[in-house]
Assembly symmetry: D2
Homo-oligomer: 334 residues x 4
């Protein structure tokens, strides 16, 4: 059986998903590329051999030859398009965030529950990264004792825009950290504090957060979208008896000019290329079988990350710890 | 267009190729699994959804629905089956060695040249490994100055058999090192010395080789099939101005029990999984277009590695440097 | 000229200082070991060739053949003995903390200022560690841009006692972190929050702190006195353009048992042996010349660390950020 | 008791030894600096507080206030001055090589044996390096199984002179490698082959050697005096069950400009500073007690390294393996 797929959004992320579907996933057929920019949609479709390029996402979703949808359009459209997929009973992989608004996430959960079966996967691709997988497994297998702390760093070379704010760092980048901490620790985040260095007048400042969890762990998060030196994601999981860290990825080491060095990528694509491919492969299997991927991110996960982010924005503005108030977890996601 | 593929040999390597074809290569169709052991062929075919399982490789090769062949059967069958593919005009990816006998390699080259087009790719998958790729690129781009030396280590946990000899290490494992040195340095090996420690009465001893090249470089090679501690492949390319080494691969680091440690795999599959997939993808493209893969290993490369290995076996037995006598490179491979 | 030295306290730290004085410092003469336990004092004195072993610290300080004093007795005695040295006009190297009480530190500063010359060096030996020195120099030389953040981890194998509390971690271990952050960043700490994971019922929990500085930096500190896996001190200084981290110290790497590993020490002595020696050498020079060591820790530094610690204990108990209220820095320490 | 010391040779090495004696060794008194260049001797003596600066080494050796001598003058003077010390019955630490001529080394051994007590320590300081110490201990303690191979690299930034030859690399730099291999493996070198890349017309080429030992191990050595990128010494000891490598020394790691890097020194002094200090301390103890230092290099060790080097020079010129013909080890050194 071949699964017909529409990719909505032909920007960087959409183009990446489309390439994975077209080139890495036997059993998938990339049928439609949708983008508000018709030329961009057409260009991508031609490059990857997709049959059609369209500008109306709803029309793409309802097509009979489309079995599943990947949403990689601008953030505010994520929830509406996900809802449209649910209405059509079509599995959807929605790029993070499911919505910047926790309320919209709740609406998605309600619609999915009403549909009576799992249809929504959220694009927290780190859950499919082999290194985080090793970390989670080490904890599950008891090799670290119980988890006490987690330290997470997320650094980009430069902010997308000069007026990028700390609040944007929390809603845009930090959800990856919130989700992976929840996933690795297997618990919910219950409180957050946030602060920023005041040192860097000209630059966009990083954000430092301290989270606490329902299981009593302390999680630190640094999001530094302006780190200058390279794309760098680090994590350390500190247990009672041992500690596990992500290794700095490097294929080669160069000895030259009185230094021994390994290279950083300039952006996230190399670091998480295999994770994206594995995630999309899991989504294809989900679309084909209806079985939600083991370890994949659900609408609930999308909601939880959004709620932590929304609370974090307030904590940054007001100072002090803010409790994260989640709704009761619907039975549907148990 | 879908390329119908037969995999001959359902052992570890054959099963790996078959899985890649079935699961990772859109545009490929795994149609036949062939193995002398009918049950093993059938089991693999069923597991991967191949239509047929057979025991006669020649019959598999001639089938009309087979467009390309992957040969992963026992070493002595490599050349005869490759010749059978050439006779049928079908592209073949032959696992290394092309043949243990340089003369048989010459016969394959003659047949391929007589066929008038490239049909034979040899499975030196390291050429598709990203780390070796970075090494070669660093040299090509002039970041190291001219190459002076290369140091290569190849270590397995344990030999396949207790009576594994130094000569077997040279013919079985070392060709990977001979080929990648030729590939990275872009030159031929012109001489070889080989020796072994005499220390290890009970165990199979490693082999240390020193190669010289047509461009005047010195290449050291250690093949240690009994290294006990893990699967480990290292290489350093020493240039006039800088030196580039493969980094030790690690996804995570464990701090526990007064040690900070990263893990070794027990065998080669994890380390070179992506290289095998990329190689087989390049072969699929070769089969579909007739364009021999950029950087892929040809029958000439298979011959050169075999000739170095054969000379190395004599050098180990007799002591001292042996010149490697290659035939003139056929124009066909220029 | 030979400087006669008395070491007060023959415990682990005192014995270490005494050994450095006796064996590593030409120009120093270890004359007196003082300890409440006469046998312990005598044993150490005999082992190192010190002339006398005594139990009364004040009597040791006043001796005519004692030019300088190293105080390594129990914490509550630090300030009184330092004051006794000041009264005698004798240079004193006082182990940290100068006092657990900020008020006592103020008393020491007043006495020293009244004496009219620098007499007090506090044993924050990390200031003489080469790695932290490289970090500070990188910042001073502008290789990192302006400092934005610092991340610090301090981990011991196990707490000295089962009833070790978070407050003890803040007053006992964290002052090293407070001082080195102040020293590297060249500024004062202005606020602190502190929290602990609630996960570990049976064990002594780590403490996570977030500090802010007068220059607007954010500093995170983890003190984990029960980390189990080894003695580990880490620090990263994050600047606007680059980031500098302490490297994990290792002399050798062992490949064995499917792992590649480096060793952790079980305690701090190996990691900071050279720093202690350099610090004591600087103190000897101070005692000989009256010139306070470049980069050494003064009574003011001892006070500042004590005040941050005292505030941190309150922040841990009460939650939320506590401002660190320092007295105005006396001109004497400008 | 204070040991009066003369340092002969005020070049880089002599100045280093003199500084260690003056500043790091309680119980030693730096009394005389001797150099053919009177001004250089005087300058160093003044800087370090030595009483006298002279130009006649024999006169320095015979002085009544000189108890022990450190010889760091030009290589051809090493053996004659060592013999002069033996004649006076004064312990001597002679910088390597003991002599470039094996015959002269034999003469030193005969004189020492005739004196009836150990007087000669050779300056193979690596034996006092903590990393090599860990390597040797791992072997002795059985953590690696029996030793099979050792791989050694020695790289300098640039040769001292443009006409530095491969033979000079073997006699000047490689003896450190010969000695440490003998020391770590606890055996003698029995054969050597040597070759050089022919690639580097303009530059001084590195030398690659393969040694075999009386215990049947294979040892590879690369000496690259023109490595350009930094001072780098590596070693790996490969045992039957595990392998131990020197770690690349680094105090800090810099993340900047899309790279993560650690620094190389430009020369050997930082890497082996602690080893030199420990060696000279061991020599002081030897001079004071007459007990030859555990693990120190004797005249026999100086001879063995010289003989391997002399054989290596012939092996490089003539090609092929040359047996290393040592005289029978005198009972005196058993």
């Amino acid at each position: 059986m071949t699964i017909g797929i529409a990719v909505i959004g032909a920007g960087i992320m959409g183009a990446d998903h489309a390439r994975i579907v077209a080139e890495d996933l036997p059993g998938a057929s990339l049928r439609v590329i949708c983008d508000m920019d018709a030329a961009r949609a057409r260009g991508l479709a031609d490059r990857l051999g997709a049959a059609d390029a369209v500008t109306d996402p709803e029309a793409a979703i309802v097509r009979a030859d489309i079995d599943a949808v990947i949403v990689a359009s601008p953030d505010p459209t994520h929830a509406p398009l996900t809802l449209a997929c649910i209405r059509m009973g079509k599995p959807v992989l929605c790029e993070k965030p499911l919505s910047p608004s926790p309320d919209e996430c709740v609406a998605v959960m309600r619609a999915e529950a009403a549909a009576g079966r799992r249809l929504v996967q959220v694009g927290f691709m780190r859950r499919f990264d082999a290194a985080y997988g090793e970390m989670r497994r080490a904890l599950t297998e008891g090799r670290l004792g119980r988890a006490l702390m987690m330290h997470n760093l997320h650094r980009n070379v430069a902010t997308p825009a000069a007026d990028f704010t700390g609040a944007m760092a929390i809603t845009n980048s930090a959800p990856h950290e919130f989700d992976i901490a929840r996933h690795v620790l297997g618990t919910e985040i219950t409180g957050i504090t946030a602060c920023q260095p005041r040192r860097s007048d000209a630059l966009v400042a990083p954000v430092v957060m301290v989270l606490d969890t329902a299981d009593g762990q302390v999680v630190t998060v640094e999001v530094n979208n302006n780190a200058a030196y390279g794309y760098d994601v680090r994590a350390e999981l500190v247990g009672e008896t041992a500690s596990l860290s992500l290794a700095t990825p490097a294929r080669t080491r160069l000895d030259g000019g009185l230094a021994s060095s390994t290279a950083y990528d300039a952006d996230w694509r190399g670091r998480f290329a295999a994770a994206y491919a594995a995630q999309d492969r899991a989504f294809l299997h989900f679309a084909a079988t209806g079985d939600f991927p083991e370890g994949g991110a659900s609408a609930w996960d999308g909601y939880a990350a959004a709620q932590v982010a929304a609370t974090g924005v307030r904590a940054l503005a007001e100072g002090g710890r803010m409790p994260v108030a989640l709704i009761a977890k619907p039975e549907f996601y148990a």
